[in-house]
């Protein structure tokens, strides 16, 4: 066994030696410094490699040749070894980061850094409370001194405040130790633990003082003003050390002391941790200074870990799984936070907004993104798994208050972190390139990042045993990152080939029932649309990795067998789609809204998954769904989560914005494919909660009305849009409303209609979006009134849109009518007459926006600005052609799609006898409703009645004379300005007069108010941080006393 004392000796000898040899040359002292750091890393890793980790006591080392209570014992077990490896590696990286600074500073700084590490190492190793105090002091004093590395007034003030707080904490600690010794007669933690908890009030106060001292050192809200100042003004290298090494050592010490405490302390500490987590994140919302923001985030994370360590003890959870959760959170924060501090030091920008300089440096931007996403808790980073497990523990034990605080806090955290990411992505012309990039700093950053990713992957595969298939999205992402330098078309074909192969190998013929349907939608639908991206000449860096990751995760939704796999994949999907939206030129705000709603949805889904019965089987989720039935609460959580993804009314705010601002080709995928993931989820929930939902009825009723209202308001809002993408976005929302309506019926016909519409929506919406993408590409605008008369320039796009709108509106003979027919008949059949009425109204309104779409863009007067517009590139035409063919096909031969859907649905709800197919005729002969639809015959008749007049016209009208654009008579003159004669802007003004009152943005207002209120609460709360050191002291005292009184420790 590696003796931990070597670690101590290495640091000490290094620290003592350095000032001495420095007389000769600074290079020697730096050499010793790095040697010591490397040795410490080696020692801790060597310990980690040893396999003799057995019981706790057996990995203890004593000093002075005496046994435990007499001498000081050091524990160097598995936990210590891991933590020390991290801490010492971080020490090395921090030393590297500070290399330049240390070469310039006086020699003491080198010793100080070594001793800081000594303190941290000792604090982690020691099993003696007073020895812990000594190492704590070493750690703190070294930190205090190193804060002085930056000699600005603010850094000084911050350091002093830190000293006051730290000094106070050590005073509490010492008093506590004194009395604890008085009651127990020992200082050894293990002996002490074995003694059990004494019942004397004095003893409890002593324990309370000890634990509060550590808690204060861990910077809990609101007694942490001093810490924030330090994070804000200390040298970024030191701030990184404080937030990683110091916090890590203290947390571990805190963890060591926990067994000493009486059980009543636990909820107190847990509450304190959770409050710290939630409120730090809340106050951080309005923080503009990057360093301080990181400080808030740091304290929040620490609070959460405190909560995990203490709050879960009451539940039926093994100690190791609690530790695993804490470790997951810690490790992520450890690397990501240090990375962020280092980045801050590298780019030297104070406000978060000015981080837009990163947009010019893709490497740093990528690192920044990784850190932010890791902190937010996205897979594959350990914090993701930790949060999943945490939610599982909380929800599984009905700790609803804690759970909501946790999730709300996480959401707030996501707000400010991702907003920051948005700032960084935003291109700002004024920003200069970051020129000076010291190699050591960069090396630390890179190495830290690589390490974080490695650790993440290690945890993902070793601890959570995820099948390799589940990591395909990530692998695909990395693979495409590597080949990202290739030209677009090459990458595109590789992507198509890869996905096609993957689909063929893993999905074709292997999926059953609804799985195969969604396989076609999710994989097939996106496969075709990849062509659309290939028209770009420039090498759109980062696009394909994310796109491929998205498609793989969509496919994996169908492969997921366990709850964890499902949620992991779901988060991969959310993540990649968020980043893809963020690629849009002005998409920062929209992407933020998107990810916030998505995350809220994801949290609800997670909660719902926890509540639902476990599905640890080796069969994909969708197949299992019929075998397992979940209760209503789980179904409600899951349902709301998926409805957010669908953009149902009330939570639709993200939808128009992000659809509009995302890159045009991607909007097409979002609308046609990505939204179907939500459809898939919703359907799964309905299947799995079928029994409960059918028994209740109220919920599905409400769901149906929600769908109807979504359909209606979506359509109505689409009518009044000037922005073509926004119009289509609202149209998508409306269409999804119909799907919800169909599903809510909980009948065979209803689900068939929902699924059928899902299919149709994929084809026609992708078709329209692809065509419109071409239009936007060529015209350079999204405002419809700036276009006009494009039919002559872009005839193929026109045909696509024409086909599309006929299909969307439900006009026979195209397949859109089929979906309308299914919806209405299923609604009426189930007696939802008024929903059917509202749906009818909505689909009538659809004509308004569809006409507007095609008229203002393609018809009417052409604009001179678009005189030289060409047809869309072939790459955009290819998917359109495919989709047109598909639409024509399923319109002519609807059986090929309706029958499989029906048989898939009949796996869950038996097909009623009265629904039958004869030839291409679908007959409905239910006792309450008869009806039929023969798509094939309708097509034939329509072609006939269309063909005959056409032939006639061609015969009698042989010599038709083409006329120019302005050959019309308007107000008794020939117009010559297209914009006066193109009726486009505010086209439905009269409609607005009649029904505009319905779309006053009440919901948007509501969400704005929520945002505003949160921000003003944050502002009010932040006023406790007056900046005065004495006030902070007062806070600490009050914090200690208030918890004392609330907890009734006496």
């Amino acid at each position: 066994m590696v003796n931990p004392l070597y670690l101590i000796a290495v640091f000490l000898a290094g620290a003592f030696l350095v000032p001495f040899v420095d007389k000769a040359d600074r290079r020697i002292s730096l050499g010793i410094f790095y040697l010591a750091l490397a040795a410490s890393v080696g020692l801790s890793l060597a310990r980690l490699m040893q396999a003799d980790f057995t019981a706790m006591t057996e990995s203890q080392v004593f000093t002075a040749g005496f046994g435990a209570p007499l001498s000081i014992a050091l524990g160097f077990g598995f936990k210590e070894a891991i933590l020390l490896s991290f801490v010492n590696i971080m020490g090395l990286l921090a030393g590297l980061y500070l290399a330049k600074r240390l070469a310039r500073e006086s020699v003491q700084s080198i010793s100080l850094l070594l001793l800081l590490l000594l303190g941290a190492n000792g604090l982690i190793l020691t099993r003696d409370i007073f020895n812990g105090f000594v190492f704590l002091e070493i750690l703190s004093i070294a930190t205090y001194a190193l804060i002085g590395l930056k000699s600005s007034k603010n850094a000084m003030a911050a350091g002093f405040k830190y000293m006051l707080a730290g000094g106070l904490a050590s005073s509490f600690f010492l008093i506590g130790i004194a009395f604890a010794y008085r009651y127990t007669g020992t200082l050894n933690i293990d002996t002490w633990i074995n003694m059990g908890v004494l019942m004397s009030p004095g003893y409890r106060i002593a324990l309370y003082l000890i634990i509060m001292a550590i808690v204060i050192e861990l910077k809990p809200f609101p007694a942490n003003g001093w810490a924030l100042d330090v994070y804000q003004s200390a040298h970024s290298g030191i701030a990184a050390v404080i937030s990683t090494i110091n916090t890590g050592a203290l947390l571990f010490f805190f963890y060591k002391l926990l067994p000493l405490l009486p059980a009543e302390f636990m909820p107190l500490l847990a509450g304190a941790g959770l409050i710290s987590f939630f409120f730090s994140n809340l106050v951080a919302l309005r923080q503009k200074n990057a360093g301080r923001l990181l400080g808030y985030s740091s304290t929040a994370q620490t609070g959460l870990i405190i909560f995990v360590l203490t709050g879960l003890s009451g539940f039926n959870l093994s100690q190791s799984s609690i530790l695993m959760i804490a470790a997951g959170l810690f490790v992520t924060n450890f690397f990501a936070k240090s990375g962020l501090f280092w980045l801050a030091g590298l780019i030297k920008k104070e406000t978060t907004k000015s981080w837009s300089v990163l947009s010019k440096n893709s490497l740093l931007l990528a690192l920044f993104g990784i850190f932010i996403l890791a902190l937010t808790g996205f897979p594959p980073f350990p914090s993701f798994f930790a949060k999943v497990e945490l939610v599982r523990a909380l929800a599984g034990n009905g700790a609803w208050v804690s759970l909501s605080a946790l999730l709300a806090g996480s959401l707030l955290e996501a707000v400010y972190l991702l907003r920051w990411l948005g700032f960084a992505v935003k291109k700002n012309e004024e920003d200069a390139l970051i020129e000076t990039m010291p190699i050591p700093k960069l090396v630390s950053l890179m190495f830290g990042t690589v390490l974080m990713i490695l650790v993440s992957l290690l945890i993902t595969t070793k601890v959570y045993h995820l099948s390799s298939g589940m990591m395909y999205p990530l692998m695909a992402f990395l693979a495409f990152m590597i080949i990202d330098f290739l030209p677009m078309k090459t990458k595109g074909f590789i992507a198509i080939g890869l996905i096609a192969y993957w689909g063929w190998m893993f999905f074709w013929g292997k999926l059953l029932g609804i799985g195969s349907l969604f396989g076609i939608i999710l994989i097939g639908g996106s496969l075709v649309q990849i062509f659309g991206f290939m028209h770009y000449k420039d090498n759109k860096a980062g696009l394909f990795p994310l796109l491929v990751m998205l498609i793989f995760s969509l496919g994996n939704l169908l492969q997921a067998c366990t709850k964890l796999e499902f949620f992991l994949t779901w988060e991969f999907m959310t993540l990649s789609s968020y980043l893809l939206i963020l690629r849009g030129k002005h998409a920062q705000k929209a992407a933020l809204t998107y990810i916030l709603f998505s995350l809220s949805g994801a949290y609800l889904i997670l909660t719902g998954l926890v509540l639902s019965p476990s599905f640890y089987h080796k069969i994909p989720v969708y197949l299992l769904s019929d075998m397992i039935q979940m209760g209503l609460p789980a179904a409600i959580f899951l349902g709301i989560g998926f409805l957010i993804k669908l953009g149902a009314l009330g939570v639709h705010i993200w939808l128009p914005e992000s659809y509009t601002e995302a890159e045009d080709e991607f909007t097409s995928i979002m609308s046609s494919v990505l939204s179907k993931a939500g459809v898939f989820g919703l359907l799964i929930v309905l299947i799995m909660a079928k029994d409960a939902l059918v028994a209740n009825g109220l919920i599905t009723g409400a769901l149906g009305w929600l769908g109807a209202l979504t359909a209606f308001f979506g359509a109505l809002m689409a009518v009044f849009q000037e922005d073509v993408k926004k119009l289509l976005a609202y149209s998508s929302m409306s269409q999804l409303g119909y799907i919800i309506m169909g599903f809510a019926l909980m009948s065979h016909l209803g689900w068939v209609s929902g699924l059928y519409l899902a299919f149709n929506h994929l084809f026609f919406k992708a078709l329209i979006f692809m065509a419109i993408t071409g239009v936007i590409l060529r015209t350079g605008t999204r405002n419809m009134y700036e276009m006009g008369g494009l039919i002559k320039k872009m005839p193929i796009s026109f045909i696509s849109v024409l086909m599309g709108i006929i299909a969307v509106s439900g006009v026979p003979p195209l397949s859109g009518f089929g979906s309308k027919w299914f919806i209405y008949t299923s609604l009426i059949e189930q007696g939802h007459y008024f929903q059917a009425g509202l749906a009818f109204f909505a689909s009538a309104i659809a004509f308004l926006y569809l006409y507007r779409l095609i008229h203002t863009v393609f018809l009417g007067q052409a604009k001179p600005a678009q005189k030289d517009v060409k047809e869309a590139p072939i790459w955009l035409i290819i998917p359109q052609a495919v989709f047109i063919m598909v639409i024509m096909g399923i319109s002519m031969f609807p059986n090929y799609i309706t029958k499989p859907i029906s048989s898939a649905v009949s796996g869950f709800i038996t097909k009623p006898d009265w629904l039958s197919w004869t030839g291409y005729n679908i007959t409905l002969a239910s006792p309450v409703l008869h009806g039929n639809w023969n798509g094939n015959l309708v097509m034939m008749v329509t072609m006939g009645v269309f063909g005959i007049p056409l032939v006639w016209l061609l015969l009698v009208n042989a010599r038709v004379q083409k006329v120019k654009q302005f050959n019309i008579v308007f107000a008794a003159e020939r117009p010559d300005k297209p914009w006066t004669t193109h009726f486009a802007h505010n086209m439905f003004a009269h409609y607005k007069k009649a029904l505009g009152w319905l779309i006053t943005p009440k919901i948007t207002e509501f969400w704005n108010n929520v945002t505003e209120w949160t921000h003003s609460i944050a502002a009010t709360l932040s006023y406790i941080y007056t900046g005065n050191g004495q006030t902070y002291l007062l806070h600490i005292f009050m914090y200690v006393l208030v918890i004392f009184i609330i907890g009734g420790v006496r």
Binding site: N3, L5, I8, A9, L12, A13, A15, F16, L17, P19, F20, K23, V61, F62, T63, A64, G65, F66, P69, L70, S71, I72, E105, S106, Q108, S109, S111, L112, L115, L118, T126, D128, F130, N131, V134, F135, E137, I138, I141, A145, G148, I175, F179, G185, T186, L187, S200, P201, G202, I205, A206, T1031, L1034, F1037, M1038, V1040, L1041, F1044, I1045, R1050
Partner: protein, 232 residues
Amino acid sequence: MIKYLLIALVLIGMGWLFLPLATEYFTPTQLNNLAANYVYGSAADLNMPNAVTSVVVTYRGLDTLGEVTVLFLATAGVGFFLKRKNSIKSKRRHGSEILKSGADLLAPLIILFGIYIFTHGHLTPGGGFPGGVVLASAFLLLLMAQEHFTFSHSVIQFTESLSGIAYVFIGLAGLLLLGLNHFLDPRWLNLGQWGKLFSAGAVPLIYSFIGLKVGSEMSGMLDSLQSDGGDE
């Protein structure tokens, strides 16, 4: 106003928090188990009359190592703050003639006394820390008395570094010579005769290095403090 009210409340609250500690107090009549073991072991195992020293240097030697480190840290910190580059010596006031000659006379005596204190730490009260401070006080005296007294930084640093390293190595010697659990075990040297200067194993050696280290650290700290912080 509210602030003062709060402060008053905090003070009362702290008193209230401490109250049980005082009221529950009773003077014990017997040593607890651990202390008894220490006192017994001091004589039986370590051959050391001063039980406090045996606790400080041997049983809880790691604490003391840490303590020395803390002091080193403080010195380094103070030096780091106050002796930035291009520090200029501030003018010191002349010490009076009496002080000068007194200092010249006393300083060696004081140093000798200091050495006595830390070498006899295992026998009598005192030890490395007071001894070191006494050494530093001689230095202080010289500093005050003589205008141009500059104690060589190299000497201070040399002593400081070397004694520190020596301390660590003595500790390691225990580890290497006696085994895994014997860091800072003084028994690798002969325990010697009861009550003699060279007894109790390496304890006098350790305490001497502690004394030297504390003395040089304190001197260094005083030196940094008296020098002007160096204006930028």
